[in-house]
Symmetry: C2
Subunit: 324 residues, 2 copies
DNA sequence: TTGTACGCGTTATCAC
DNA sequence: GTGATAACGCGTACAA
């Protein structure tokens, strides 16, 4: 890789002039600019980002911290973030944390040492204090960490209501809820929406709410138990799509049919939901849009642009498919 | 962030000494080491990676270039790469290319300018020449680019044979193949394995091979056509799991049953396959293992360790589930 | 065993 | 309009 010095020599000017041409600032004669540009061409010169970063204390790089990229929600988010960032001249570092405090702290340090410009984070365990220490803009997605950290979430409670109400509308008379983990806020919110819709129903029992871990195995087991104990359940609202798919499996295992005997609705709107059989009805989050907004907001923050809002509570959408 | 200079002042030594204790090389008195360490503690000093990179011309960062992280094969690969890299002190930059030559070239440039230490790449379009220009170690995964670039692939032909043979074993007498895109080598290899198993069968027709794009929609359409035209097909080997799921959908649409009327087998072993209904029988690649090996190999290359092999052709495994 | 001084490739400030 | 030159923070000859 050629350096700015070599370009300067080639063009018979000083490095300062080359720098001016590259960054397009300060006065420079048209004549000399041409010469410099030719030198840049012929040496195939590319500015060294590392040297630039050292001087500017920024790296045109952002971090994306997620629990686990293998969780189907995150690839779409990551894709959106990466698309948007790269369009705006930023590069993305991928961090999987498993929500493990040590891994998170480790990554925070690494990112700091690399002069990261900003961070997009999905985490329940990270504290506002740790984030402040970073001293760079941070945007949280899918989960709130603190009021004064820019956040992009969806209307989970409304979504929970929407899902439950829809099950009622299509005729379900005993609706259970497969709740997500208790320590995750959105799981409780979705559950809240469910409760608001059913707590006045004569048939409602607290036992109709059963907790899973936002993954399939536990959802299968939970559903199995639920339906064995309460065979007249005819509708299940699962806290996320993976659990909904697990629920469908359990229903089938018990020799019942989806949606005829039991209707199932999920939450998230991951791609997987379309691939399931029967195709999953779900409350879809605008996942790509969330990633796009997070990246845009973060980069506006980094570049100190005027910001309109730093808190987005996006709407969810009922996507009717075959499982209801 | 404190700098090495501040630490030096705090400890009453020179920066050189501080550098020595940080990097643990050169002589340094136990006494002074203690003092320096205390200063580091009290200032919460972290070495500046950017300055380090500038000096060392390396960044403890690798690139991971994939067509699209939303494609279910890649999250697991990415997770493996990131796990392994971070364990070894490296950070991962995520690059989605859509196999678009321009995006690839753009990323190559960016990575170069960031003193990337190495690159793991999945691509059909990238040429050996472009890769050489990078001047850093590169490992390709899932697809071969050139004989002299370290590569990790699986035995696609053997896998194709294995899938087809299994369908025969379980009694299928008219087996079709949903082939992947013609420009992707592994699609042709898998198809090859299929042909080897069926070309001597009296019932075999070239028409039993039909091309899809490694995604669901085209697979559904293709299967639909296939089964309409040749209703006696009772087994389908799909080039990847997504297409297999599409095939299952099409079979259902036609009012037939999987596996009773038509058995379906996929290829890849993505997580999605377990979530499908019926659960998908597939030829599983050791995806995580491939990512792990790629990262390990790459980092060995970067650190100029002794390398045993630079070409791995891994075995695939028949995973029997409900779709056959 | 420790310190001085230079270089890594840029950018920005200040003379000219 | 252009050119020296001092940072940016670190690692390492070389001298002491």
């Amino acid at each position: 890789m050629a350096t700015i010095k070599e370009v300067a020599k080639e063009a018979g000017v000083s490095v300062a002039t080359v720098s001016r041409v590259i960054n397009n600032n300060g006065y420079v004669n048209d004549e000399t600019r041409k010469r410099v540009e030719k030198a840049i061409q012929s040496l195939n010169y590319q500015p060294n980002d590392v040297a630039r970063s050292l001087f500017k204390k920024q790296s045109q790089t952002i971090g994306l911290m997620v629990p686990d990229i293998m969780n189907p929600f995150f690839p779409e988010l990551a894709r959106a973030v990466e698309d948007t960032a790269s369009k705006l001249g930023y590069t993305v570092i991928l961090c999987n944390t498993d929500e493990d405090i040590e891994k998170e702290q480790m990554y925070l340090n690494t990112l700091l040492r690399k002069y990261i410009d900003g961070l997009i984070v999905v985490s329940n365990t990270l504290t506002a204090k740790q984030i402040k220490r970073l001293n760079v803009p941070v945007v949280t997605v899918d989960r709130e960490i603190s009021k004064d950290i820019p956040t992009i979430i969806v209307q989970n409670t409304a979504g929970g209501r929407m899902a439950t109400r829809y099950l009622k509308e299509i005729g379900c008379e005993r609706i259970a809820h497969l709740k997500g983990p208790d320590h995750i806020r959105n799981a409780n919110e979705r559950c809240c929406g469910y409760k608001e819709e059913v707590h006045n129903e004569p048939w409602f029992k607290e036992d109709y709410i059963i907790e899973g871990h936002y993954e399939m195995e536990s959802a299968i087991k939970a559903t199995y138990q639920l339906l064995t104990r309460y065979p007249d359940i005819d509708g299940i609202f699962a806290g996320n799509d993976i659990m909904a798919i697990g629920a469908i499996k359990a229903v089938h295992q018990l020799g019942k049919k989806v949606p005829d005997d039991v209707a199932v609705i999920g939450f998230d709107g991951i791609a997987l939901a379309k691939a399931a059989t029967p195709e999953l009805t779900t409350i879809a989050q605008p996942i790509y849009e969330m990633g796009r907004m997070a990246a845009n907001l973060l980069i506006d923050l980094i570049e100190k642009k005027k910001i309109e809002k730093t808190f987005y509570n996006l709407e969810v959408e009922l996507v009717k498919r075959q499982s209801t």
